[in-house]
């Protein structure tokens, strides 16, 4: 019952943040709303007893992707950002955002860990990744390597 309520609450919050990310006129707020959406999805995974997915989502998407997007805005000198650079600071919004992040992370991880439920066998996952699916892993890592080289090449052209 509690799990169902948590899932529906997270779903409503995720939909809300997706709406803000799409419809917000301010690009940085849009990216922050996207980060909140990803955090709500982290909560989804944690409630579904998949802490590995939750942590992966947290590190790769919330950490890496949001940082990349914000750097893209900063180096792109976006017009939206420049025109609204002197907006008043919104302490309450920041406070609620920080509270939301804390509640999502604490409650969902505490809930998933207290039940002792771990939906994946990490040993089996690692062995499977490096034995059965090593071609795919090699291809993926090679693709990522090419992507990084391409990114460096593109940036050096400037």
């Amino acid at each position: 019952m509690l799990e169902t309520i948590a899932l529906y609450t997270l779903g409503i919050l995720a939909s809300l943040f997706a709406g803000i990310a799409v419809f917000s006129p301010h690009l940085v707020r849009s990216i922050i709303a996207f980060a909140m959406l990803l955090l709500a999805i982290v909560g989804f995974f944690a409630v579904l007893a998949a802490p590995f997915l939750a942590l992966g989502q947290l590190v790769i998407f919330v950490g890496g992707l949001i940082a990349l997007l914000l750097f893209g805005v900063v180096f792109g000198r976006n017009e939206d950002v420049e025109s609204k650079a002197h907006m008043p600071t919104m302490t309450m919004t920041r406070f609620f955002a920080a509270g939301f992040i804390f509640i999502i992370l604490f409650a969902s991880f505490a809930g998933s860990l207290s039940t002792g439920a771990s939906a994946v066998d990490f040993g089996a996952f690692s062995i499977m990744l490096f034995t059965e699916y090593w071609e795919g892993l090699l291809l993926g890592v090679f693709g990522l390597f090419i992507a990084v080289i391409t990114a460096i090449f593109l940036m050096e052209k400037e």
Binding site: L7, G11, V22, I31, L65, L69, D121, M128, G143, A151
Partner: protein
Amino acid sequence: MFGLIFFGSIIFILGLYGVTTHKDVLRIFVSAEIMIAAANLLLAGFLIQGSAFSNPAESAIVMSQGFVFLFFVWLFTIANAVVGLPLFLLIKNRRQTQNTEDLNQLNG
């Protein structure tokens, strides 16, 4: 499970709306990432729900296979972002625009 599909679909449709209506390249990129996040959510939901029907030993194998697939999705999403953002910056610096209506050189 119904809720998961419902909210995943709503998030995916919002992302799709953003991709089809926005003119800003970076906003289109963010909307595409919203679509990928929704697809990830749906995939994980189906995986967790689907593995509940088999016995515990098979369930762990099914989950591990699904997580390998999700791992590849993450890998290619990051590769997409790593190439996409420098391309955006390159276009922005060379053409001095990020409006897709001005980027019509390949229209023919």
